[in-house]
């Protein structure tokens, strides 16, 4: 259960009051009529799935009803910052020097680029018992 700081209410509240709305900073093409189907498809359907720092859009649904952004580490679930709409994140993967790439997590907790084979899979990852 996350403990989320709402930048509008100016305090931390329980996750139950919030609702995630996917990746932040998705820009709708300015002139939809004149963009290609591919550009439109990218905007509609394609999202990042980073291991590490991720910027997300959340709404304080049962509070002030404001949308805002969260920078969250997807491996530790740590929330690194929250900031209002219209602002840019101060914590980014580039700045933190975090390796950010498309791929999947391997069973040993390592990282695998899509299509590659795990080099040394120890298969130590927990699955529910």
């Amino acid at each position: 259960m996350f403990y989320i700081f709402c930048p509008y209410c100016d305090e931390r509240r329980e996750e139950e009051e919030f609702h995630p709305s996917g990746q932040a900073h998705i820009t709708r093409p300015a002139d939809p009529e004149n963009c290609s189907d591919e550009e439109w498809g990218d905007y509609l359907f394609f999202r990042d799935n980073p291991r590490g720092i991720h910027h997300e859009l959340w709404v304080h649904r049962l509070g002030c009803r404001k949308f805002f952004n969260i920078t969250r580490d997807t491996t530790t679930y740590e929330i690194l910052e929250t900031y209002p709409m219209g602002e840019r994140p101060t914590v980014t993967a580039e700045r933190a020097g975090v390796r950010q790439e498309q791929g999947v997590q391997t069973a040993d907790g390592g990282w695998q680029t899509v299509g590659a084979r795990p080099e040394n899979s120890k298969l130590n990852e927990e699955t529910p018992s």
């Binding site: 259960m1 403990y3 907790g109 018992s129």
Partner: protein, 1017 residues
């Protein structure tokens, strides 16, 4: 039976308060301060259970949360049954009734043991998979049989009489565990001014200090505990929670604590004389900082027959003697690889019983405790270990042999010692469970021979959990961790804390020994148990590695090591060490499994709290709910709303009075609306008030159709799409003024549509000046509809209802039944209709006034079922029923509601220009008329064109709504069908699961009044 193992003095029990209890039907006596386990041991009860897989007799092994075998079914009455309670964690109370969860017909004579003995060969590791999986159809039978035999406890068949609470708590520092480190941490954090919660799972706070041989400030350690607890108790900023287990550690320092408030007194709160009080609480703690002081569990050694009753963990022997005044036997052999375990031998001897020998695997142990044992005349056999226990229902001897630990072989001849108790110690495993609940892997420390917790943000470790075992060091470490946690929470201690003086003892190092080598191989030696609860042996782990299981996670699943309520408390490290030896790897290379919440079982009552029965989920009632109840409505759940479904009336037939069936009631209600006048409570409809100079522009962007010219006083139907062009919701929006609109949504869509509007306003078009507010609950909505609606309604309103003045799709403000109202001429039935909105608290008055005037028109209340039939007869869709997120407005035949020439690229427009949405073979909304009018097609039924095609058939679409129409005297349906609009008049087929096939004709979606004249009168 007498308490023949009870000492005459010592321990923290009250010998003046005798308590009587029942175990497996036999009556026993114990004392106040006992646990169920200590009382059973005092009475000399050796066998408390039968093992899970082999049905071997099992006794009490440990003294706390690590006990794997003494798992009880508690409760004197059916309603009070609690399964899977550890006897070691259950305080004794007068009248306690306990049974073994396993063993049938009794633990003494277990018919299953034959199976177990044979099962030595029948049940190798993976036995579930190998033996019982085929044939799959037999699995249910097998599982039932296994569960009956294995006896994993049972849930009560009667309703729980008790109540449970959830409490949300906040604190600066949560300290988990009140042993020396935890008390030190709580004291230092609290003295620094932090708000502290200190919880401990035991009956008393103090942890290891309660049975310690050590002194603090030259007084018994327990005296210091009393002082420390008293100081904390007196501080307002401190909350003490005894009998409270921290069961789960979740993200952002969210910790769930299970506090048992009456379980130590009786099996129900009422039985404890606390009628109406809360039995247990779940504290949901949001802690700024957490100090984990959960200590360590002692590992038993793995040797042959180490599960026969009389085998115990060394520390537990000390605990029973010193804390409960119980010596669980006469003649002790202790086998150990460390100094600390020598306490058991010293305590045993001081209790006046015979210590046969201490068998130490180390060649030259010379620590202080070892010396003390030698000085007390105890025989210490070095370089050796107990290789095998003797006995069946109770230990009768120990076979001791010299061993070469690194080479894992026995080196000398075997000596047989006569004894009834074997205490063993293989070192200590920090209780890292909570620290790994969020996925952080523990780290192996070679110097400690154990895993310590990995770094978790906001969590501090104190004492045994990070391998600091010596009392003086543990106290100091606690004080340090408490001060650090307080500092991290913004509280600075005034100065260093003065700690009570404790002796520092010289210890010789622990030797890495997990499994004792046997003269025979692991596979041929008598069983050497690793996980007692799941009956996992060393041989099973060895076999698993031989069969190619290299990952510890796979070994775990194959053998069941660390499963269940045990969660590997005693066995995990030994199991990993054995796997590592077999795989010729080190323990850190093999790694550890991580632990899941909960640490120990939590009752469903505590998890559920008050969220049961009528409080399980919020129920929403309209302002007219009570009237519906009084008038016999059957209700339907729509989201959280309770809506009248239909109003069954009494009916006389064959001289008998009975209630209408749903079919009869709905037919009557439908005909009333089509022929007279009906009334519906439509208050649950979502209503959003939209204001601002850009409100009109905003509507034009979120709806597919045009809004630029909608004048005040007019209403328009609108369809909303997502940006993928698929229909999301629909409803009417009325222009209340140039800058003011009232939007309606589906009942279920109210909250999500509001969030949708906010999303687009706040993230895409913040420059638009527009504001949204939900007014669903503020207005009650009453629909009066049918050919007689105008006549009736004119009697109660001052609004001019002339058909030229107040047209279809107009709205007017005025008075209804004397109160202010907005009236909308919109229709969801296809009949003349007035939708009356009044302030919710006037609703009942208006409703009753309508009925007073409506009697002469036979005004008929109708519910959601009739509403559905009437709207479907008119081909009016319900978003979410006739659409599923893959349906465009065009698919619904609503091209008239799509403004392709609107200037702004409204939501969904771009996607509707894709080639895919222009395909002619898309599934399109059509009507279906079954060839047999008695047939009501199943909603969801698949449509095929060729009923004789072999399976898999080509599916062309499916039924979305289907009812019986009393007007048509036939079943009818709406469906989505590939290229449906071009198939009008064709026959399609609907094969059913029972082998029959229905025939239906593809028809228009509008079944009644195709020209729409009836609503326009």
């Amino acid at each position: 039976m007498s308490q023949h193992n009870r000492l005459n003095q010592g321990g923290r029990i009250d010998r003046s308060r005798s308590l009587s209890f029942t175990f497996n039907g036999q009556r026993y006596q114990g004392f106040a301060g006992d646990t169920l386990a200590s009382a059973l041991l005092a009475n000399g009860v050796d066998i408390v259970n039968r093992s899970f897989k082999y049905s071997r007799p099992r006794g009490i092994i440990a003294a706390g949360a690590d006990e794997p075998s003494a798992i009880m079914q508690l409760g004197a009455s059916e309603a009070a049954q609690v399964p899977n309670v550890r006897a070691t964690q259950q305080a004794l109370y007068d009248g306690l009734v306990a049974r073994s969860t396993n063993g049938w017909p009794s633990v003494q004579r277990d018919v299953m043991s034959w199976v177990g003995r044979l099962g030595g060969h029948l049940m190798p590791p993976g036995f579930y998979y190998k033996t019982f999986m085929a044939p799959a159809s037999m699995w249910m039978t097998y599982e039932k049989w296994i569960r009956k035999g294995a006896g994993l406890g049972r849930s009560p068949a009667a309703s729980d009489p008790d109540i449970y609470d959830h409490l949300n708590q906040h604190c600066d520092v949560l300290v988990i565990g009140a042993g020396p480190a935890g008390l030190g941490a709580a004291l230092s954090a609290a003295r620094a001014g932090a708000r502290v919660i200190l919880c401990d799972e035991q009956e008393e706070m103090g942890g290891s200090l309660l049975d310690s041989r050590e002194s603090l400030d030259d007084a018994p350690a327990a005296d210091w505990v009393a002082k420390a607890v008293a100081e904390l108790d007196a501080m307002e900023s401190v909350t003490l929670l005894p009998r409270t287990t921290a069961n789960g550690y979740h993200d952002h320092n969210f910790v769930t604590l299970h506090e048992r408030r009456t379980e130590h007194l009786a099996d129900t709160a009422a039985g404890a004389g606390r009628e109406g009080e809360v039995r247990s609480r779940l504290h949901r703690v949001r802690a700024e900082q957490v100090v984990l002081a959960s200590g360590a569990h002692e590992r038993p050694l793995v040797y042959a027959n180490n599960d026969v009753p009389g085998n115990m963990v060394a520390g537990a022997v000390s605990t029973y003697i010193r804390r409960y005044g119980v010596v669980p036997g006469q003649k002790l052999v202790l086998t150990t690889n460390n100094d600390h375990a020598y306490r058991a031998a010293l305590d045993w001897q001081e209790a006046g019983r015979d210590v046969v020998a201490v068998v130490d695997s180390r060649a030259n142990p010379d620590g202080e405790l070892v010396q003390q044992a030698r000085d007390s005349g105890i025989r210490v056999i070095t370089g050796s270990a107990v290789m095998e226990g003797k006995g069946n229902q109770r230990v009768s001897g120990a076979r001791v042999v010299a061993i070469d630990t690194p080479r894992f072989v026995v080196t000398g001849s075997i000596e047989e010692l006569d004894c009834d108790t074997i205490a063993s110690s293989g070192g200590y495993s920090p209780v890292v469970h909570l620290a790994s609940h969020t996925g952080k892997r523990p780290q192996w420390r070679d110097d400690l021979l154990g895993f310590v917790p990995g770094e978790v943000k906001g969590m501090h470790y104190a004492g045994g959990v990070q391998g600091i075992y010596a009392l003086d060091e543990s106290l100091a470490d606690g004080a340090r961790a408490g001060a650090e946690a307080a500092r991290a929470g913004g509280f600075e201690a005034a100065g260093a804390m003065t700690l009570p003086a404790a002796a520092s003892r010289r210890e010789s190092a622990t030797e890495a020994l997990y499994q004792v080598p046997h003269e025979k191989t692991s596979l041929r030696a008598p069983k050497q148990f690793v996980d007692f609860q799941n009956d996992v042996t060393a041989a099973a782990i060895e076999l698993a590695t031989r069969e190619g299981f290299e990952s510890i996670e796979h070994v775990k699943r194959y053998t069941a090591l660390g499963f269940g309520t045990d969660q590997g408390k005693l066995g995990n490290i030994n199991g990993m060490a054995i796997a590592a030896r077999c795989l010729h790897r080190s323990i850190p290379e093999v790694g550890t499994t991580v632990f899941r919440p909960n640490y120990t079982p939590v009752t469903f009552g505590a998890i559920v709290g008050r969220h049961c029965r009528e409080l399980f989920d919020p129920e929403r009632y309209t302002a007219l709910h009570q009237w519906h109840v009084e008038n016999g409505a059957e209700f339907e759940d729509v989201g959280q709303w309770k809506r009248p479904w239909y109003f069954p009336q009494k009916r006389r037939a064959d001289g008998q009075e009975r209630l209408e069936t749903m079919h009869e009631a709905v037919a009557r209600e439908c005909l009333a609306v089509r022929q007279g006048v009906g009334i519906l409570d439509a208050s649950t409809l979502g209503k959003i008030d939209i204001q601002g100079p850009d409100a009109r522009e905003f509507l034009g962007r979120v709806y597919t159709n045009k809004w630029a010219k909608l004048a005040p006083g007019r209403v328009r139907y609108g369809v909303m799409c997502k940006d993928d062009g698929m229909v999301m919701d629909d409803g009417t929006t009325s222009c209340l003024g140039d800058n003011h609109f009232l939007m309606t949504t589906t009942t279920g869509g109210a909250a999500s549509v509001l969030e949708w509007l906010e999303l687009w306003h706040q993230t895409e078009w913040p420059e638009l000046q527009v504001y949204f507010n939900s007014v669903t609950d503020h207005w009650a909505t009453i629909t009066v509809t049918g050919p007689e609606a105008r006549k009736l309604f004119s009697e109660v309103t001052d609004i001019d209802l002339d058909r030229e003045q107040f047209k279809f799709m107009d709205w007017r403000e005025g008075r209804v039944a004397g109160v202010p109202a907005r009236v909308f001429r919109i229709s969801f039935t296809g009949e003349l209709a007035f939708e009356i909105n009044v302030q919710a608290n006037y609703a009942l008055h208006v409703w009753k006034t309508l009925f007073a005037h409506g009697e002469k028109y036979d005004l008929t209340p109708y519910g959601t079922e009739t509403m559905h039939v009437l709207r479907a007869e008119k081909g009016l869709i319900i978003a979410g029923q006739d659409t599923d997120g893959s349906v465009t407005p065009e698919d619904l035949g609503m091209h008239w509601a799509v403004g392709y020439d609107k200037p702004f690229a409204w939501i969904g427009k771009r996607a509707l220009n894709r080639p895919d949405t222009a395909r002619e073979d898309r599934k399109q909304l059509v009507g279906l008329k079954p060839k047999d009018p008695k047939v009501v097609l199943e909603e969801g039924a698949q449509i095929v064109l060729d009923p004789d095609q072999a399976i898999p058939m080509t599916m062309m679409g499916h039924v979305t709504s289907s009812y019986y129409s009393p007007v048509l005297e036939s079943g009818f349906a709406l469906a989505v069908l590939k290229g449906g609009r071009k198939r009008m008049g064709e026959t399609v087929y609907l094969p059913m699961s029972n082998g029959t096939t229905h025939e239906a004709e593809v028809v228009s979606t509008i079944f009644v009044d195709p020209k729409g004249e009836r609503q326009n009168v």
